[in-house]
Symmetry: C2
Subunit: 385 residues, 2 copies
């Protein structure tokens, strides 16, 4: 096990009818900016629940934060924060709204030349403007971590940011919110959380027995509840396990003391930037090819995963590892998620070369050993056509 | 799954040679009281590591905090805190030293008549004096939770306390510390952590699939590493998994959204108070009898535990549940832990009646349904003779 530090101060308020508890979490004298996305919260009743809970608080609003939160839109929100002397941010949405709010939390107190520097100069935010979240889409884990990914359409870039000052002060997780989420987005959420776990787990054995088992626990639970979540999102038991699994998949716990891969995300981000493919679907496209390409380096853990998550008991380590990749691909298909780039675009020719070119420009080496060069990424993306 | 709140702000610093990081965690202008137990830290080098790390900080000392931290001793420490205008506490020890430090953190800022009220009037500490810990004995999880148990010899009582203000600011966990722990105490630590998980897990099914699997993950890991921990505490892989499992066993995570039992602890505490038996060993005495006595209420979870932790695949639910109790008892025996009260004292006659009398006086009902009356406790303790 590697040495590690772990601190996660976010207060989680989890369960049925918990949105009303907002009134206990936001200081009465706060000047709040309520941030949300495309407006679905106005149709599904969540907006009304939030407004009711905050009836006695001074609340401004900023809607329209898009999936893959866009820098230009966030700069408009930043202007509102400055103009209105906002002191507290409240994200009501999924990962995109929460990630955008994290950027704003950092940007609101940033003293450099331009907030763009936060993204391009790896500025770690030690203390941001305080913010809370009401999660409306289980998937990214952003509600209980301190990282965010921001997109800039102008340059077709997706860039990561974060810092210990960017944990939400609180996050309200009411599993009932999933009843109004379209099946497509539920499938995305399941895939996203599943892949988050894989990125932190599917590396090489390092003797972190408990972290492995926690990772496997989340994967097993997602596999167990996925069919019910898709078929009947009103099933509270499935919804609550789905939601808590997504949070635990990326709140820092399972990554402590172990190597992390994240190459799937790095390649996937480029596919979103280039073609606008849903984030989760890009992960499902890259995952099988990535594991096949890096088979020798990952086969021990792949076999362990096969045994423990998919109950594969027959065959050699290699056999189990291959079967585990096949099971993973089949799982994505069962969720209705395609796993080839050509399923999403006809213009895939040249993508692998473009991704490699971008990684080369940025000097990126990927994977748990930082041993994957741009030319490896090129081969992996090509395998995923 | 039940509704829950979860917030755990303790910063964990985990790994080899991490004690030196103390210097980054305690404010340079703090006036520190270093608290420890019987003095083993002066023999095993931990005291020297701590003093070196704090060379530039104003440090007072208070040693001699006994196992089952004693109220009278702690009142002496409180006098030092007041007399020396201490601003920061540092516990260097196991659960007893850390629990004692939590009481002092609360007592140092308590404004009531007497600190005894904190224990007898269920005072929740919202904000205590800040404190950190250097863990020297993995077992109780006190290094990452906000609860404590304090003993008063005068009245032969063990009483619980806690509150959100009593999380350690930081805890340093260097698994190498276990190399100097006697086998007896390592066995106690394994038993204590194992039983902590059981208390939060062995109730009735409530559909908290992820919490169940996390609990099972900790149990499986303790079972896996226990023989190596006892045979060769210099094995870092076993030591690190043991230490992290003990912390995760009682840092709040696995108890969220599920019922808790804790009757084993309540009965066990009385055996320590009456006979001075090691805390962990009292748990091993009560556990098998408690599960046999409450078999009908717990058999579904007992069977699940048997299947997943002990790989019991044959037989009915009842068969698996019984076999799981037997496996648990055998595990304690393999650790060198006796599981009958008569193994520890010849004066056990009348104990069950005395425990029942005490519970009756306090009006206690125990267990996850608060359905165990004093007369049930009497029968369980008698079964454990």
């Amino acid at each position: 096990m590697n040495n590690f530090e772990f601190k996660n101060p976010t207060k989680i308020i989890f369960g049925k009818d918990t949105i009303e508890q907002l009134k206990n979490e936001i200081p009465a004298d706060a000047k709040v900016l309520l941030l949300y996305g495309g407006g679905s919260i106005k149709k599904n009743g969540i907006y009304d629940q939030v407004k009711t809970a905050l009836a006695n608080v001074d609340v401004n609003e900023f809607g329209g934060i898009p999936a893959n939160p866009e820098y230009a839109t966030l700069m408009d929100a930043l202007k509102v924060i400055k103009d209105e002397n906002i002191t507290y941010l409240l994200a009501v949405g999924g990962g995109s709204v929460i990630d955008g709010t994290k950027f704003l939390s950092a940007a609101a107190v940033f003293e450099g030349d331009t907030p763009w520097d936060i993204l391009t100069k790896n500025v770690r935010t030690e203390k941001g403007m305080p913010f809370g979240t009401v999660l409306t889409l289980p998937a990214t884990g952003s509600e209980m971590n301190s990282g965010a990914v921001i997109t800039r359409e102008e340059t077709k870039e997706k860039l990561a940011m974060g810092g210990p000052g960017l944990f939400p002060v609180f996050s309200i997780l009411d599993p009932q919110v999933i009843t109004s989420i379209p099946e497509r987005q539920l499938a995305n959420g399941l895939t996203d959380a599943f892949t988050h776990v894989l990125e932190q787990y599917m590396t090489y054995p390092i003797g972190a027995l408990l972290q492995d088992r926690f990772a496997e626990s989340i994967l097993q639970t997602l596999v167990e509840v996925a069919p019910t979540v898709l078929k009947d999102p009103t099933n509270y038991q499935a919804a609550s396990n789905f939601m808590w699994s997504c949070t635990m998949a990326l709140n820092g716990l399972i990554q402590k003391g172990v190597p992390g891969d994240w190459a799937i995300h790095m390649m996937g981000h480029e596919l979103t930037a280039l073609f606008g493919i849903d984030h989760a679907r890009t992960l499902a496209v890259i995952t099988p090819s990535h594991y096949k390409y890096n088979f020798e380096a990952k086969k021990e853990k792949l076999a362990q995963y096969g045994e423990r998550v998919w109950n594969i008991t027959e065959g050699s380590t290699d056999d189990k590892a291959y079967a585990a990749i096949e099971k993973t691909t089949a799982f994505f298909h069962e969720l209705g998620i395609d796993t080839k780039l050509s399923d999403y675009t006809k213009d895939y020719e040249g993508t692998a070369e473009e991704v490699a070119k971008r990684f080369k420009t940025r000097g990126w080496k990927l994977g748990e050993r930082q041993a994957l060069m741009p030319e490896d990424a090129e081969k992996i993306v090509k395998m995923a056509y």
